[in-house]
Amino acid sequence: MALEDLQHNFLTGQVEDLVRWARRASVWPATFGLACCAIEMMAAGAADYDLARYGMEVFRNSPRQADLMIVAGRVSQKMAPVLRQVYDQMMEPKWVISMGVCASTGGMFNNYAIVQGVDQIVPVDVYAPGCPPSPETLMHAILTLHEQIRTGEILQRRREGRPTHVEEQNVWTPDVPVTVRLGTPK
């Protein structure tokens, strides 16, 4: 029974692929609904745009049982430390989808009250555009995340708010310091 006799009639695979496949298939989102995008996230979770078909059946309420945080809505300065606290309390491995332009870049509210982009607070993996992104856009973002999980490294921590698998082209990085800005804008 030499190797060349194998007719690929049974599955072989590294353990890593198996783990990545399992993680990708059941990513449980934590309900972090803030504003209008939360309503679209709920609509995506409901009957018509069923998120359950991606294994995201349940929106876990406590970060201890959640793998993915969908930041759905605009993040105000008062909410920033709370968001960071919930992110810290999530179990490894964890991912973040920044849903909507308000979460990704502050959107149309370029003023004192909104954190201009949630990647100043938590490292973000996938940005979903739209105001609010329709459930299809959210699903596209989720599928891109699944692709990342399937091809990304397993254990490597993310650096400086950039998703793990992005190779080192000269990606424009915000020169805004990765600290939570409290108090009056400088």
Partner: protein, 450 residues
């Protein structure tokens, strides 16, 4: 090297200081003034004289007997980022205080920076469950200042869209209220019906949410052709399904146990707190702006104002359920009596000229250019116009200094005022009743924090 994405705080109180809001939150009883304590216990309104009598509020609770916990911003049952600080004695809620501001977007400041043509996009994101309501309040205020007339077809289209929006918002309320009480199938049904309405919104205004469809001077675009049968399908489906919801929820003993007779509010307390909408009507006060101070064409349409008797959770549920059917009834009348004609006022100052005419006439090109760069000027003055949104009276106080940008834009959000009734409703109830109170007050934090 230490990984920057992991926040290493030496001691726990450094973390606690970051998320604590100090004075805004609930303090220990020993450090709260008596008047504020009365307010948080919700006692200040119990007496008819509306003054605080000390023996009504049991002040002598020692600090180590009671527990202060946060039903905080990231909570599934607070309908958004409302932080509710509760003081508990076992399961009983003694005192509660709402800490808000976690979704403060500075919209009133942004309103002063955008001109009148762009103002709708900013206002429509306040109450994200009723975009048409926000825009209608804002546009009617601007039209009053400009003192221009909106053509009849625009009036009826606005009414049609406002009532469809009321149905979709009440359906979301039925869904999330069911989810809060554990009936998660209600969540699925509520959102399934709402998709029909959102599909019609997408067909008419191009977007599912934040439509920017109602603009000063009329509506953005005419109704798509074939809209009659879409609307008819929506009305029939939602109305027939609302009887299914009735069967599903009303008879359930658990649902009744948590809703009937829970958290009643008296009429005088609601009036003193400035509460409006289904919360006020549940106490028996027949106040609905669509009937009392009619705007648009509500006086030419017959519909019923639904008024409760006991002012408890069950009445608020029954009011919202029946308001879905009333809205469907209004929508049907709009269907039959929709006048023809243009959908925007033809006043060149306010409405941009149709695209085709720009190529022909120089004057139309100048109008178009002026409108979309600087926007139209509104004569100096101030006005307060109010409409009946799903949660109560939504008012828009607009001050203009003659320029093309509002000088001050203040929106009176019904949820912001209704939230003040929460300490009163929660007093003495169980923690599980607290969940139903927040759900039946139906706050939308986008308009609370603005």
């Amino acid at each position: 090297m230490s990984d920057p994405t992991i926040r290493v705080a030496e001691r726990l109180d450094v973390l606690a200081a970051e998320t604590s809001e100090g004075e805004q939150g609930l303090q220990q009883r020993s450090r709260t003034s008596k008047n504020e304590l009365g307010r948080e216990v919700g006692a200040v309104l119990r007496q008819s004289g509306l003054t605080l009598d000390p023996n009504d509020v049991d002040f002598e609770r020692r600090d180590d007997e009671i527990m202060i916990i946060n039903m905080g911003p990231a909570h599934p049952a607070t309908h958004g980022v409302l932080r509710l600080m509760l003081e508990l004695d076992g399961e009983f809620v003694l005192r509660s205080k709402t800490v808000i501001g976690y979704l403060h977007t500075g919209m009133e400041k942004t309103g002063e920076v955008l001109n009148y043509v762009q103002g709708g996009t900013n206002v429509t994101r306040m109450d994200y469950l009723s975009p048409i309501g926000n825009e209608l309040g804002y546009s009617m205020a601007v039209e009053k200042l400009l003192s221009i007339e909106v053509p009849p077809r625009a009036v009826w289209i606005r009414m049609l869209m406002a009532e469809l929006n009321r149905m979709s918002s009440h359906l979301v309320w039925m869904a999330t209220n069911g989810l809060d009480l554990g009936a998660s199938s209600m969540m699925i049904y509520g959102f399934r019906e709402r998709e029909l309405i959102l599909a019609f919104f997408e067909k008419t205004a191009g977007l599912r949410l934040n439509l920017n469809y109602v603009r000063p001077g009329g509506v953005a675009a005419d109704l798509p052709d074939g809209w009659e049968d879409d609307v008819l399908v929506i009305c029939d489906t939602v109305e027939e399904r609302s009887y299914e919801y009735d069967e599903l929820l009303t008879g359930q003993p658990i649902f009744r146990g948590r809703m009937v007779g829970v958290a009643p509010i008296a009429a005088e307390e609601a009036l003193a707190l400035g509460v409006t909408g289904p919360l006020l009507r549940s106490t028996g006060v027949p106040w609905d702006l669509r009937r009392a101070m009619p705007y648009l064409a509500y006086d030419q349409v017959e519909f019923d104002v639904i008024v409760g008797t006991y002012g408890d959770n069950f009445d608020r549920y029954a009011i919202r359920l029946n308001e879905i059917r009333e809205s469907a009834r209004i929508v049907r009348q709009c269907l039959e009596r929709m006048p023809s004609g243009d959908y925007r006022s033809q006043d060149p100052k306010v409405t941009p000229p149709p695209r085709a005419r720009i190529d022909e006439s120089m004057e139309a090109l100048i109008h178009h250019f002026k409108l979309f760069t600087e926007g139209f000027h509104v004569p100096a003055g101030e006005v307060y116009s109010a409409i009946e949104s799903q949660r109560g009276e939504l008012g828009c106080y607009l001050v203009s200094d003659g320029g093309s940008k509002p000088y001050r834009l203040h929106v009176r959000a019904p949820s912001f005022v209704n939230l003040q009734a929460v300490p009163l409703l929660m007093r003495g109830g169980l923690l599980s009743d607290a969940i139903t109170v927040v759900s039946t007050v139906d706050p939308v934090l986008g308009e609370v924090d603005r």
